[in-house]
Amino acid sequence: MAKMMKTPEDLLPLTPAVFNILLALADGEKHGYGIMLEVEENTNGQMQMGPGTLYGSIKRMLKAGLVEETDERPDPELDDQRRRYYRATGMGQRVLRLEAERLAGQVALARAKDLLAGIAGGGA
């Protein structure tokens, strides 16, 4: 196989959009609107993704093997054939964990430099 396989480390750091989409998919498959709502909730409304950003990111994540489409439906009664569901692949979950560790390292560094003093959870 001449094709070079990318390791999870090759994909770091993730863009905020990709990180938040993976985070939204960490606990199960969701459709586009479900992902968008969860990202908005997880970021306290600071990240509002439009359809172009969401599906542009999903396209690239599918290509990188971070997510995959799924035929499974979380609740068949709520199923809507007009929607497409996605879930994180094993690779996507590994990349998410690595990125979370990387960000945690950055936060630890900021904490060590006393930049988070006075912020909830930021004390030493």
Partner: protein, 280 residues
């Protein structure tokens, strides 16, 4: 009262307009994700409308248009076959012609309204929806055409000509964005912003026309941009001074300006170099 399955009009109109905008994405991306993007935008519209009414829709449109312009460019660039300059110029020429036609028809539709102040979709619903669709589309297409004009003739018309086309295109985008809430809300500052943007489109064209008279970048009809651009500012200036823009003069000027834009589009469409356009 809105039933469970009945969709509010602003939602259905917005979804329809968004589906039209999706045409700007690369065809592969649009075919793969377009229906899902439209569905997601519709969900957002329903949510925003139920939560905040028209003002929520307006905020959603602002965010969505920003997202739209950024991601259209991104998707074309990532496709690595970004539309060539020649193709863009040719298409923008067609856009100008279609935009001029849409603008004329859109303003003609305003003549069919019996009252400018009744809510969208009342007894004048047909004329109002026609305006809602045609006027923003017309402004958007003309704006793309002006970008094509700048790409083709900007360098050869000097700093003044180049900047005036840039001003014209920027005003076009402002006018386009304001034209959507103008017809949905029928209230607020949108009329002034839309018409101010439209005025600056033509002022920019007129200034470009002055540069074109001097430097002659067009293959022929170098007086056309000035003739096209000058009528609208004169109408508004006279209208402000006399406190009326004229029931007869107004439509004539709009027709004059639109025909001029259409001819400019025709000229641009037919004057695209076959060889790759020089870069830099």
């Amino acid at each position: 009262m809105i039933g469970i399955h009945e969709e509010p009009r602003p939602v259905s109109i917005s979804t329809h307009l968004y589906r039209i905008l999706l045409a700007a994405y690369p065809s592969g991306f649009r075919q793969e994700y377009g229906p899902y993007m439209a569905q997601l935008f519709r969900d957002q519209c329903v949510h925003s409308y139920r939560r905040s009414g028209p003002s929520g829709m307006l905020w959603l449109w602002t965010l969505t248009l920003f997202d739209f312009f950024m991601t259209v460019l991104e998707e074309h660039l990532q496709r690595e076959t970004f539309m060539s300059k020649e193709k863009f110029m040719r298409l923008s020429g067609w856009g100008m012609m279609l935009g001029a036609l849409a603008l004329v028809l859109g303003f003609a539709a305003s003549g069919g309204e019996s009252s400018y102040y009744d809510p969208l979709g009342g007894r004048d619903g047909f004329y109002e929806y026609a305006q809602l669709f045609l006027v923003p589309s017309g402004i958007f297409l003309i704006t793309l055409g002006i970008l094509g004009l700048r790409m083709r003739y900007g360098k050869h018309s000097g700093i003044l000509g180049n900047l005036s086309l840039l001003l014209s295109a920027a005003s076009g985008f402002v006018s386009f964005i304001a034209a959507i809430p103008l017809f949905i809300l029928n209230d607020g500052p949108w009329w002034e912003i839309t018409m101010g943007g439209l005025l600056n489109i033509f002022v920019g064209l007129a200034v470009f026309g002055l540069a074109a008279l001097r430097r002659k970048p067009l293959p022929r009809w170098n007086a056309l941009p000035l003739l096209t651009g000058i009528a609208f500012p004169i109408l508004l200036t006279v209208g402000v001074q006399t406190d009326q823009s004229g029931e007869i003069v107004g439509p004539i000027v709009m027709l004059w300006s639109s025909v001029g834009v259409g001819i400019l589009g025709y000229l641009l469409r037919g004057d695209v170099p076959r060889e790759p356009f020089p870069v830099g």
